[in-house]
């Protein structure tokens, strides 16, 4: 049986860093879209937010976030940030990870998503975020762009994009 999860593309940041990580011309043959990022920022600070844009759009994003840093738990309303990654002042060699899932990314409905992100660097700048978000746009997702607020992705940051394809039948409804 073919796999439901297919790797579409992996982007690895080279020497000099990159302002964005982009996936374009996303195949519309799947059901769900999964983006996995391992990132580090170049800014001279502990950490930096990663921003998301879809189909070149930076508007229409909202969400609910639950976060913890080992000391306190918090919650916030979000727009298009998808959590923090370690930056240049954090422990060397540490990258922050996140997993972002868009069910039904090619549908004509607004695009809900589920996000888990973590940044652990053995300091007080540890954090993890759980976010339930939405892109209030009925267009199919054809491109994804990741960027860092007021910074760039450092060398060896990497992101992969997968499409997940549903099966058929096998369910009973009543």
């Amino acid at each position: 049986m073919p796999s439901a999860m297919t790797l579409v593309s992996t982007v690895t940041v080279g020497a000099g860093g990159a302002s964005t990580i982009d996936f374009t011309s996303i195949p519309q043959t799947g059901t769900d879209l999964l983006i996995v990022l391992s990132g580090r920022a170049t800014a001279a600070q502990q950490d930096s937010f990663v921003n998301l844009s879809l189909n070149g759009s930076t508007t229409g994003f909202s969400g609910k976030q639950l976060d913890g840093n080992g000391t306190t738990v918090g919650t916030a309303n979000t727009t298009r940030d998808i959590g923090k990654i370690p930056a240049a002042s954090s422990l060397a060699g540490v990258f922050g990870n996140r997993s972002l899932l868009f069910p039904n990314y090619s549908s004509s409905e607004n695009k809900s998503f589920s996000l888990e992100s973590v940044t652990e660097n053995n300091t007080t700048a540890n954090s993890m975020h759980l976010t339930g978000g939405i892109w209030a746009n009925t267009a199919a997702i054809t491109s994804v762009s990741l960027s860092v607020q007021s910074s760039s992705f450092a060398q060896n940051s990497a992101a992969s994009l997968y499409i997940i394809t549903k099966g058929s039948g096998g369910a009973t409804v009543s």
């Binding site: 609910k64 639950l66 069910p103 809900s112 339930g132």
Partner: protein, 164 residues
């Protein structure tokens, strides 16, 4: 070429409001199961799951949630069904949940469930649950609220198997 391990097993897109969605005769040849659902419900309430039609008081969970203005945690023990979404779904904003069931076909352990549930207009939830049974899971049934209202038309459910 690596061996595929994440495989599509079943899927449904609801054509009308539906009270119950079941995946039955689940292939026992995988290690873990993943259910992905996206959609709406007629009003704000929760989605429940039962396994193998079991409605005995054998389901427990712990959860944490954030609404943007408040956070909370809670737990339930010995329930007759498993709360999967903790009042995440409603009629206004399309929501989603992802449910992971590890070792679903094992007969020597209770069944652990990890879930994430999201509604950008209401709340994000993470939960861990357990079905107090050593039976292999062959059927998963999802119902909404008190069972007299259903999932809205257009809601989708997909089941995947992860091979060991």
């Amino acid at each position: 070429m690596p061996t595929p391990t994440y495989e599509p097993l079943a899927n449904v897109t609801l054509a009308s409001e539906t009270l119950s969605v079941s995946f039955s005769s689940i292939n026992q040849g995988y290690r873990d199961l993943v259910v992905v659902c996206t959609g709406k419900t007629p009003f704000n309430n929760t989605v429940f799951a039962t396994f193998n039609g079991d409605t005995a008081a054998l389901y427990s969970n712990v959860s944490m949630r954030g609404t943007g203005s408040s956070s909370a945690t809670g737990s339930n023990v010995s329930q007759t069904k498993l709360d999967v979404t903790f009042d995440t779904f409603d009629a206004n904003t399309i929501g989603n949940f992802i449910m992971n069931i590890m070792d679903y076909s094992a007969t020597d352990k209770h069944k652990p469930v990890l879930s994430r549930s999201n509604n950008a207009g209401l709340v994000t939830v993470a939960s861990a649950g357990r079905w107090n049974s050593t039976s292999a899971i062959s059927t998963i049934t999802f119902t909404f609220a008190n069972g007299s209202s259903g999932f809205s038309s257009g809601t989708t459910f997909a089941l995947y198997g992860i091979a060991s």
